[in-house]
Symmetry: C2
Subunit: 418 residues, 2 copies
């Protein structure tokens, strides 16, 4: 066994022990830990910004892109945001111990299904240092211990933020090992985490397709993730023109870099030269590159789509577009090219919306609403650790509640089975 | 691609295609399929019993134990029971499409969380031919396609029962591939199933520790299972004597071969020579071999426990017993030796019961009730495909509802994100 493996197993054992204590921690203690961590974060502002400055310098030397440097960068305002996020998680209801359902049995038994922590969560992320705080806080809220493995680019920033989280745990009398940060940038630590089935109950990767794909391929531990957000928006012949134009433009252009951004527009064949042309003109006017499939290439401002433009996550001011026969055709296209993340239908015909909702199995389906709403905050779940497209356990925005499991509590009065 | 055999991949692809159709099958069609399968089963009674007779003969030649032959054996009464179980699943509420929760957002969005099928379930079982019908029915009820892999001992019986299920599917116009039976007794088919992550969403092993352990070790596909039911029952100093005596005897002796049977009795040190001695005398009088730890070996009729008697699943008229300091001591013992299946506390002190419920993380915790209630039917869940001790997705008795996932349906009115 390598040295790293040994230290990762040690971390795993510490996490398990901390999880045992966290499982019965009071809501008040967890809230206090998060509030104190927010305080500690702001008190340590100078140290955190200095640590971030050294990460930024190293990043520039390594030639990181502007977008990556922007993700890495912290300033006083962003740090305020990180602290505020901690306070928001602190103020959310505590999921642990909540009674999900309860009922009586003819035998006289009273059965409750109550939420329990999952156990130990492993979070593997890239350059955003705020994930250290967000993920640490959400896992703690759900009563889970967490092992955080940040990217090498944000190593010093993450360490400084982690110190504030540990200060919060100390202030609340909770075990320091509840939130551990991997103290090496060696990739071997990631491989170890993916295989530590006895020590980690679920892995949450936060980052680009390269990271998520690696985790999904190699993990023996269950994974909550989405590989890509290839979100489709289908405009039916029954669509209201004004709603359709507003929603499609928002779905593509509000923010192009998020997973809920629309990547493909599907247009009912009967409205290609009417509402379809109008929507495409709107997008082109907004500066969107429109990669048009057959039957749309005569429209002004478009470029012809290549076959590989369908099923592609652009995360940019680009959208693919295709003509479909009807809602069945749209669903066939989405089944073939989608990623089961978020797909939308724009239609006034309730039957069309109903078929779309019943016939597709995306984590999120929208009717007459923008795909950009695919977000835990917008769903009212509070903070989220990510969006999952798998079907096991967690799906859609993963908040504190989805980071829990449950157990049955059964009360009798000397009750025996016949 | 791994070394998965071509025929298993073909089965997997057919299951995926069937699952796609099942996902939108009406509750009526599924009910009709199950009722028709029950009819077909009884109509085919002669053929099924003949198939079973040939399995029984082969089993005797192979020298199967009496217990194994009993599990394998079908007669007219048992076949009636299998048909009745199909009708009961048919009459259960359909979980698919049920709204789990719904709420409105300030943005005007209305969000629903609705149940969807999981997809494709793989069931790997041993000699009981009725599992073919039970597991097939439950998976169908939840809108899942299923690949059944029965033990070689029940090969002909399972094939005959499977034919009745297929007749039911045909009668309801549902795809035959919704319920497929592996047509080979080659163990390689099991290894294939455990690795078919693209084709199977969850594996449910039904059988002894050998089978379940193999599946848990080797599966790349998620698994719903329990390896062992090492159920503990703790009698507190505050226990009501009459309730305690009744419940302990029931927990151990009602049926010893089921996973909810108690395997270890823990006695508060203050009542060893009072209620403790009485309970032990009751068990001994019932013919239970009592393997007593330190502090109990002076009691009449007991034999001394060896260290390996703790944490052992006897599935027989044997129970281990130990003295503990108090409820904390009992919980420490259970954490060390239990299997997170079902554990019970007998106490009148509500605080003791509360600590037991909060401090342990078994799938099922009982207060003043027999561990033998660990059963989907007793929980009111209808039929169960097994009991799971893992913490991901399903836990405790796994009925049709736990064989589902969910998706979010979001309705707006031209709603865009700010």
């Amino acid at each position: 066994m390598t040295e790293i493996s040994e230290s990762m197993l040690e971390m795993g054992a510490k996490a398990r022990a901390a999880a045992q204590i966290l499982a019965t921690a009071t809501p008040e203690a967890k809230t206090r830990a998060l509030q104190s961590a927010a305080d500690a974060l702001l008190e340590a502002q100078d140290a955190i910004l200095a640590a971030n400055a050294s990460d930024m310098e190293a990043g520039r030397e390594k030639g990181l892109s502007g977008a990556m440097l922007d993700r890495l960068m912290l300033d006083a305002a962003r740090l305020q945001g990180v602290a505020q996020a901690l306070r928001e998680v602190a103020s959310q209801p505590d999921p642990v111990g909540a009674v999900i359902s309860e009922w009586d049995r003819p035998t006289g038994l009273h059965i409750q299904r109550v939420r329990t922590p999952l156990g130990v969560v492993g979070v593997i992320y890239e350059s955003r240092p705020n994930v250290t705080a967000d993920a640490g806080a959400l896992c703690l809220k759900a009563g889970n211990a967490v092992i955080l493995r940040g990217g090498s680019e944000s190593f010093h920033s993450s360490r400084a933020i982690h110190a504030a989280l540990v200060a919060g745990l100390n202030a609340a009398g909770l075990p320091e090992d509840a939130i551990q940060l991997v103290q090496t940038t060696d990739r071997a630590a990631v491989s170890d985490m993916l295989r530590m089935v006895a020590h980690i109950d679920v892995i949450v990767p936060r980052g680009g397709k390269g990271l998520v794909g690696l985790v999904q391929r190699e993990a023996r531990v269950p994974v909550f993730a989405h590989l890509e957000g290839i979100c489709h928006i289908y405009v039916d012949a029954s669509a209201d023109a004004e709603k359709a134009r507003r929603v499609v433009v928002n779905a593509k252009t509000r923010r192009t870099g998020i997973c809920g951004s629309a990547e493909c527009l599907l247009i009912h064949r009967d409205i290609v030269d009417g509402l379809g042309a109008q929507i495409i003109a709107d997008l082109v006017a907004k500066g969107v590159e429109l990669r048009a499939g057959e039957g749309l290439q005569h429209l002004p401002g478009v470029v012809p789509a290549a076959p590989e433009d369908f099923g592609k996550e652009y995360l940019d001011m680009i959208i693919a577009a295709a003509v479909v026969e009807d809602v069945e055709g749209a669903m066939a296209h989405i089944r073939r090219y989608g990623s089961q993340h978020t797909d939308a239908v724009i239609a006034e015909d309730a039957g069309v919306a109903q078929r779309f909702f019943a016939g597709l199995d995306s984590a999120i389906l929208m009717h007459n609403a923008s795909t950009q709403f695919a977000d835990g905050g917008e769903f009212g779940l509070g903070a989220e650790i990510g969006i999952a497209t798998g079907k096991m356990h967690a799906r859609g925005p993963v908040g504190a509640e989805q980071l829990t499991s449950f157990k049955y509590l059964v009360r009798g009065d000397g009750t025996i089975r016949a």
